[in-house]
Symmetry: C2
Subunit: 177 residues, 2 copies
């Protein structure tokens, strides 16, 4: 994680001080304060019409080469479910529809710091045309028996939370991993 | 909203360019990019043991003097439900327990730009000791009949979503506004 040394508004060196109960960097010249907030991320638990789960293999850090659920950072001005579908589209060229919110989570990651992760269940009707982008080395829809192992703890947790919900709600044939 | 003109890492003037499909400010000297993401906020739909709703009157902009649900920005490293309870504690000195996630929303606000709002239902057992802080001019728990009017559209929406859920789930006596 990068730390800030200069004021992005006026360019003067920043000072350190306690502001609103926390140690923060601030600009003694113009008053700008570096409030540090979690970065919002959307994750898409995506199934096709056969209820197979989409997993992608990450081509970048963090977790390079790991199998994962698609997702990425929300952009300014973006509804979280729209950001989720945009990330899915960018990474795989798939056009999805959000079915429901699965949950919201927090994780600290070395590369980016504090992340606020919003996970949605997404359904893709036409999955034939998948084209992974540069962030993805492999991608596919998998049933329970042939799904690559997912090691990222949060992604395993999201899959588990979705399974628990669907079991409670009586949804059949969900891709339990 | 403040715009950035200088690199917070190396202090050089920023340039404008298209990076990952969006116009962003970046540092041609050290490579820092100003990715702009929604700022995460937690809102607490808070009831006491009589199922009365906590509403506070805002003492600061935005929406100064409006009646509202308590809440505020999530801090780095903070679980969203913990940030929700911290904000409740700071604004009212009340110790709450999160019952469930109500929903997640996006709004653009003049003062802060893009906000990602996480709303939780919170229950407070001991509400006798409430002490509003400097952000709050008045606060109280109200039943349906005597609740001050809440004009902030998102807060009305959160109340409505909670009502819809509780009606579906068969929860009785919820404070319908």
């Amino acid at each position: 994680m990068i730390s800030y040394s200069f004021c992005p508004v006026c360019g003067k060196p920043l000072s350190e001080g306690v502001i609103e109960g926390r140690t923060r960097m601030f600009c003694a010249s113009c008053g700008w304060v570096h409030y540090r907030n979690p970065l919002p991320v959307a994750v898409a638990y995506t199934v096709n019409r056969h209820n197979e789960l989409l997993v992608i293999r990450r081509a970048h850090e963090p977790a390079i080469n790991e199998w994962a659920l698609p997702g990425g950072f929300l952009e300014e001005g973006e509804e979280p479910h729209e950001g989720c579908l945009r990330e899915l589209m960018e990474e795989t060229s798939l056009d999805g529809r959000v079915e429901r919110l699965i949950g919201i989570y927090h994780r600290n990651v070395d590369l980016y710091g504090s992340l606020l992760i919003v996970a949605y269940k997404v359904v893709v009707v036409d999955h034939e045309c998948m084209t992974p982008n540069h962030e993805v080395s492999e991608a596919g829809f998998f049933g329970e028996c042939n799904c690559p192992q997912i090691n990222i703890p949060l992604h395993r947790h999201i899959i588990e939370e979705n399974r628990r919900f669907e079991n409670l709600a009586g949804v059949t044939g969900n891709p339990v991993l």
